[in-house]
């Protein structure tokens, strides 16, 4: 039993920080006048943008669910050759920023642009958001339920659809939601592949026309779409459904023999890895070899890498700190309040980094000037952007540690805070680690907010990469891109290992 009122207060404060950008939107919208905003919303262009963004999100989410689920099933439940290697490879695309992937594809295939090109690149970049939680759910599920289904006369396929898929559904839905929201907020891929979506239109409105009202309106519509999506995901959830691994059922899964499908499955897994990782790698190599621009000195690259690590670490630290009370609240005191607070954190998540960046510039100049031009304002931007990523993994970790343990601790004479420190936090630590890794990873790759909010003179790997590619200095950009991907691979590996795909199960 955590101290409820304190936890509630801390969660509310954390969520309030998370919705700062929304307040900015509201203030600016009020300044612009609601009538003008309504006029702007009711245009054919807004409708077209909405439909295109929704369509892109729909296609990418569906494709990511198929790819993520298939990969997760193959590595956790079958005798796929090299499945432990694929277990990590399948997660690694998370380390490749979409603007790097998009650029790799356009520079490899002439005329690679448009809706379907963007859908492919975004799917390859996003499916790990489905793969990771589903693999963890499949690896951790109690095999007894499936065995019972088999014993009641169901075939393997029926068991998969009727039992396995249902056990994995909460993880699947949560991952799909993240993918859809990511597609809403992505800027790199859609701008490079020239697809007119909300983010691209918002960016154009801000940077070309100085028409901030237009951008504002589009952002507001985006928030409304996000609210619909988040509400929709919530509605598909069974009430109170929690499929935690029960204590003592650490029995390994029995693996399905793929038989003659073995080599097709291997080929499919290899193809996925080649498309998602091979193309960017090949392209980076080509840039370095064929390019004429000279890369920066080792010192410059080192400095950028150091800056990237520093801002990502600050962002991860702050985000985890804010996410802890919200995650603990939704695990320990589930209910309307916890759900609403948890869901609100998603609203800012789908906003483009650009809007977050602008709103925090406004906030820094008008409200918190001492923060302006410091790493902490950037960390705050990461926190508002990535809070739901952290809340999710902390809540699921806290949900795994039974409340009974906390009661026993209380009965042994420890106060609420001592119990939090000695029991709840140590047991939630793996989840906190995963949360930090996710946010760290996202922070390393984040571009628009970083461009706007970094202290003057500070360059990160992502901003250097952007600066160099903007002037077509691809060879100069290559080392930054390579280092960015390599550094991002470390937290990705941590995340993949945590799912349990690396554990040696029964053959």
């Amino acid at each position: 039993m955590a101290p409820r009122p304190a936890l509630l207060l801390a969660s509310t404060a954390a969520v309030a920080v998370g919705v700062l950008p929304l307040l900015y939107l509201a203030v600016r919208a009020h300044d612009a006048g609601w009538e003008r905003i309504l006029d702007e919303i009711a245009t054919a262009r807004t409708l077209t943008l909405s439909l295109r963004s929704v369509a892109l999100a729909g296609v990418v989410t569906a494709a990511s669910v198929v790819a993520g689920l298939t990969a997760a099933y193959l590595v956790t439940r079958t005798d796929l050759p090299g499945r432990r290697a694929f277990g990590v490879l399948a997660a690694l695309p998370l380390a490749v920023p979409t603007y790097v992937a998009a650029f790799a594809w356009t520079s490899t295939i002439d005329g690679f642009a448009g809706f379907w090109a963007a859908a492919l690149v975004l799917t390859l970049a996003c499916y790990p958001y489905v793969y990771l939680p589903v693999a963890a759910a499949l690896a951790g599920a109690d095999p007894a339920a499936e065995e019972v289904a088999r014993s009641l006369g169901r075939g393997p396929w029926q068991v998969f659809v009727g039992v396995t898929l249902r056990l994995a559904r909460p993880a699947l839905a949560a991952g799909a939601l993240l993918v859809a929201l990511y597609v809403f907020s992505d800027f790199g891929a859609v701008s490079l592949l020239r697809v007119d979506t909300f983010t691209r239109a918002i960016f154009t409105a801000f940077s070309l026309g100085f028409d901030s009202t237009g951008a504002l309106v589009l952002s507001t519509v985006l928030v409304a779409l996000t609210a619909l999506l988040v509400g929709g995901e919530l509605a598909t959830r069974a009430r109170g459904a929690r499929y935690a691994r029960l204590a003592g059922s650490a029995r390994p899964q029995t693996r399905i023999r793929l038989g003659r499908w073995r080599w097709s499955a291997l080929a499919a897994s290899a193809a996925l890895a080649a498309l998602a990782l091979g193309v960017p790698a090949f392209s980076l190599l080509r840039w370095s070899v064929a390019g004429v621009s000279r890369p920066g000195t080792i010192a410059e690259i080192g400095q950028a890498a150091g800056a990237s690590l520093a801002v990502a670490a600050a962002g991860a630290g702050l985000t985890v700190l804010l996410a802890l009370p919200v995650g603990l609240l939704s695990a320990r005191a589930p209910g309307v309040v916890a759900t609403v607070l948890d869901r609100i954190t998603y609203l800012a998540h789908a906003l483009p980094g650009l809007v977050i960046g602008l709103s925090l510039v406004y906030f820094g100049i008008n409200v918190a000037y001492p923060l302006y031009q410091t790493v902490w304002l950037l960390a705050l931007a990461y926190a508002t952007l990535f809070l739901p990523l952290a809340v999710g993994s902390i809540a699921s970790a806290a949900g795994q540690s039974p409340p009974r343990l906390e009661e026993v601790a209380r009965s042994l004479g420890r106060g609420p805070w001592a119990v939090l420190r000695t029991v709840t936090l140590p047991l939630t630590l793996p989840g906190v680690g995963a949360a930090a890794a996710l946010v760290f990873l996202a922070g390393m790759k984040e571009l628009p907010a970083t461009l706007l909010l970094r202290p003057t003179g500070m360059d990160t790997l992502a901003t250097q990469l952007w600066t160099q590619t903007a002037v077509s200095a691809y060879a100069a950009a290559a080392p930054y891109a390579a280092l960015l991907v390599a550094l991002s691979a470390i937290p990705t590996w941590v995340l993949a290992a945590r799912t349990g795909v690396l554990e040696r199960g029964a053959a």
């Binding site: 039993m1 204590a247 009974r404 601790a409 209380r410 009965s411 042994l412 420890r414 140590p426 047991l427």
Partner: protein, 343 residues
């Protein structure tokens, strides 16, 4: 002096009442078993005493200190009431020694108390192990040691043996009883297992639908239940309609001596325990009957016998050799006085 006193404790969850006026006293150093079917509110009772739930009305005192009452709710960590939950609930991230030491302050940890209580539960030398390296029974022993370590005036055990297999249960019950006694702890054991309650406890409190219907020494409660339901819940019972005449009751088993004069005149229900019914060859003095069925339990057997007018009774026979067979004619006599309830 009583370590625990509950006075008219009430607790409901919304429209569902879990406790509807519980009165209970547990003397110092005793073990009280709260016995009841699932859903009777016994776990709620435990959670109210531990302080995990706030009572709606009534008062609870532990070691002469009011911990719950009108306007009073001492939080769990200030009650000095230790719990042993159903599945042990050891802290998975702490070693056995660290689990046991969890409720101790720094000087107490160095005083050798951890080893002392581990020895008490028969796990001396297990301190360095992690909980997942222990068997279920061992985990439960550690949970008991952990609860005893800070010398709490009251230890609550919530069906601590129900998840263990029968062979393990007996030994563990005895050891836990001994550990509690050696440490001078007062215990409340919640269980739905009659055998467990009767064999372990100094006092049995039978609970039904949110109230304690009877409390007393195990033998007294077994022999002298307050009503037919308690009689049935505590063990095999033969309940027969009868008519009272003076100190005897006339029933299908013939005239039966009453244990106590009953105020209920006329029609009553009498309780005969199966072990009170003696079987003889047919023709001997007694009531004739036919063996309908028998359940062999190893140490004894329960024989179901049909009497006249479709009345069936159950007799417990210790020496089932030479066994009676189904269809055999027997003659029944009741040994000792019986208890009568208002019909």
């Amino acid at each position: 002096m009583a370590e625990l006193t509950m006075t008219d404790v009430r607790k409901s969850y919304g429209p569902v009442s879990a406790l509807t006026g519980v009165d209970l006293r547990a003397p110092e150093g005793s073990l009280t078993a709260v016995l009841g079917p699932s859903g009777c509110g016994k776990t709620t009772l435990l959670r109210c005493v531990a302080g995990f739930e706030r009572v709606d009305a009534g008062a609870i005192t532990v070691a002469d200190r009011t911990v719950a009452g009108p306007g009073t709710h001492v939080p769990p960590h200030r009650r000095r009431v230790a719990v042993v939950p159903q599945e042990g609930a050891l802290f998975p991230h702490l070693s056995v020694a660290a689990n046991v030491a969890y409720g101790l302050d720094r000087p107490a940890r160095r005083s050798g108390r951890v080893e002392e209580v581990l020895a008490l539960v028969g796990l001396a030398g297990y301190g360095a192990r992690m909980p997942h390296q222990l068997s279920g029974g061992q985990q439960q022993r550690v949970a008991v040691a952990r609860a005893l370590a800070p010398r709490p005036p009251l230890v609550l055990l919530d069906e601590p043996f129900s998840a263990l297999d029968a062979a393990l249960r007996g030994g563990l019950r005895r050891d836990v009883r001994e550990a509690l006694r050696a440490d001078g702890a007062t215990g409340i054991l919640v269980t739905h297992d009659q055998g467990e309650a009767l064999s372990m406890a100094d006092q049995v409190a039978v609970m039904r639908a949110g109230v304690i219907v009877q409390a007393g020494a195990p033998a007294a409660v077994y022999r002298d239940p307050v009503d037919a339901w308690v009689a049935n819940f505590l063990g095999e019972a033969v309940l027969l309609p009868a008519t009272v005449a003076g100190n005897a009751a006339q029933s299908a088993l013939g005239p039966l001596a009453l244990a106590a004069a009953t105020t209920a005149g006329g029609h009553v229900t009498v309780l005969v325990r199966p072990e009170q019914i003696r079987l003889d060859r047919p023709g001997a003095t007694g009531v004739p009957g036919v063996v309908l069925r028998q359940d062999f339990h190893g140490h004894d057997a329960l024989v179901v016998i049909g009497l006249a007018d479709d009345v069936t009774v159950t007799a417990r026979v210790l020496d089932a050799v030479p066994a009676v067979a189904i269809g055999d004619r027997v003659s029944l006599t009741v040994v000792g006085p019986v208890r009568a309830f208002a019909a």
